[in-house]
Amino acid sequence: MNRTLDEVKCDLKRLLAENLSLEDVKPQDISDDMNLFGDGGLGLDSLDGVEIVVLLQRQYGLDVKDMQKSRDIFRCINTLAPYLLANAVK
């Protein structure tokens, strides 16, 4: 993938804001270290989680075998972006 880490972070924030029916959340509202799941952050749930998995697979060819084991990777943009940069196929 021919993107910088910062560009990937922007791409991810846009992907989340545009695809998860989060009312009134713009990409710039998602800070890099904001918890994506659970209370006290973006407030995503398990269904959002599997949705993100499919979206990443479609867009980047990313194959996330086991979402449960990957909880740490999906904690926030700061943890997800490097993983995506390292493992994206497209």
């Binding site: 749930d45 398990s46 269904l47 599997v50 998995v53 499919v54 979402m67 449960q68």
Partner: protein, 383 residues
């Protein structure tokens, strides 16, 4: 009773298959797909004499099980005054999801409407009632994975309320590309044969089939001069009211549901000889269900877990599992759980691993649905 699934084309073959512990999963799908996963398929060629030769496979499967159940009950004809209800659960047959139709619509805008007409003519309970010329209440229940069990509860309520004398109850669902893609997208489909309650379980396999029981009022049974052997003794149902896909982590809906069913029969958990668990082999379901069952019945409860033989048959599951539960009570043995090898760390209980004798008066079947419906059906064997 009538049953058709990958486990057997009828009840006697199913029993034989259980005794041998044979698993009949299939590596190839009956439709073109880029998915690769085992599924549990019923026989391809079904015997569907007119008027049962419907275009919908779900209706064909239902027809096979309904006819077996009626023959088994000795009810091939009904007196004109007898009211017979039909309460069947399904998921696929309730949805307008024809891929060829929609593909043609997207491409050309004026597709053949035949799939839509076929769909409108395929309401499960309505079609079965019409085929048999029945007079009585009917309902097609679409409660996701607990549909079949819910249908039994509703049919029993109808009989007690005097709305009918007899009821045909259970469920049917065919293997279909759309729900397969759907469950795949949720990350809950296993690419290996499923392992219910197992420590290494990683998801479900879809299956297809139909399971039907014939319920009768005490008066109707007496009028026929028949001595009944199995009673529908109790039923409970309730919602988690928690999430559209995930079960409540502590299984609060299931707990109340099981307790309701036992309370209806006025029995204690100790009187239940075994439980047919829903056991889909997903990480979440089996953990929640196993934990609740252990807390109510104790770790020593014999668990009959049959989705290793049938796959998850969605709307048919509750109907098939009612049949399997009754078989266990009647035959006094239950098969081992196909696919189970290792105790799970996160589940305090395990299904029986081999053919196990069970003797007792009562057995329970539990179902947990997507979107939080829970249902439990209690059966009693009369001495």
């Amino acid at each position: 009773m009538g049953a058709i699934s990958a486990a057997g084309a009828d009840v006697p073959s199913t029993l034989k298959g259980f005794a041998q512990g044979s698993r009949n999963h299939c590596a190839t799908l009956p439709f073109v797909s880029n998915l690769h996963c085992p599924t549990f398929q019923a026989p391809r060629n079904l015997s569907c004499p007119a008027p049962w030769d419907h275009s919908s496979r779900t209706l064909q499967l239902a027809g096979v099980a309904v006819r077996e159940a009626l023959a088994d009950a000795g009810l091939t004809e009904f007196h004109p005054h007898v009211r017979v209800g039909v309460c069947l659960g399904t998921t696929v047959a309730s949805q307008l999801n024809s891929l060829p139709f929609y593909d043609a619509y997207r491409r050309m805008g004026e597709p053949s409407l035949q799939p839509v007409y076929d769909f409108l003519g395929a309401n499960l309970s309505q079609t079965v009632a019409e085929r048999l010329n029945l007079r009585g209440p009917r309902m097609t229940v679409v409660n996701a994975c607990s549909s079949g069990t819910d249908a039994l509860g509703i049919a029993a309520s109808w009989i007690r309320a005097g709305l009918c004398d007899v009821a045909i109850a259970g469920g049917a669902d065919e293997l279909n590309q759309v729900p397969l893609a759907g469950f795949w997208s949720l990350g809950v489909v296993s690419t290996r044969p499923c392992a219910p309650f197992d420590g290494n379980r990683c998801g479900l396999n879809l299956g297809e089939g139909a399971g039907v029981v014939v319920l009768e009022s005490a008066d109707h049974v007496q009028a026929r001069g028949i001595k009944p052997t199995i009673e529908f003794a109790g039923f409970g149902a309730g919602c988690d009211a928690y999430h559209i896909t995930a079960p409540h982590p502590q299984g609060r809906g299931l707990r109340g549901t099981i307790q309701s069913a036992l309370a209806q029969a006025d029995i204690t958990p100790a009187e239940v000889a075994f439980v047919n668990a829903h056991g889909t082999a997903t990480v979440d379901n089996d953990r929640v269900e196993g934990t609740v069952l252990a807390s109510i019945f104790g770790n020593g409860l014999p668990i009959l877990s049959t989705k290793g033989y049938t796959g998850h048959t969605l709307g048919a599951a509750g109907g098939l599992e009612a049949v399997f539960t009754v078989l266990g009570l009647r035959e006094e043995w239950i098969p081992g759980c196909a696919g189970f090898t290792t105790q799970a760390q996160d589940i305090p209980i395990a299904p029986v691993r081999q053919t196990t004798q069970v003797r007792g008066e009562y057995a329970l079947s539990t179902s947990l649905a997507f979107a939080g419906n829970n249902a439990a059906a209690l059966f009693r064997r009369w001495k």
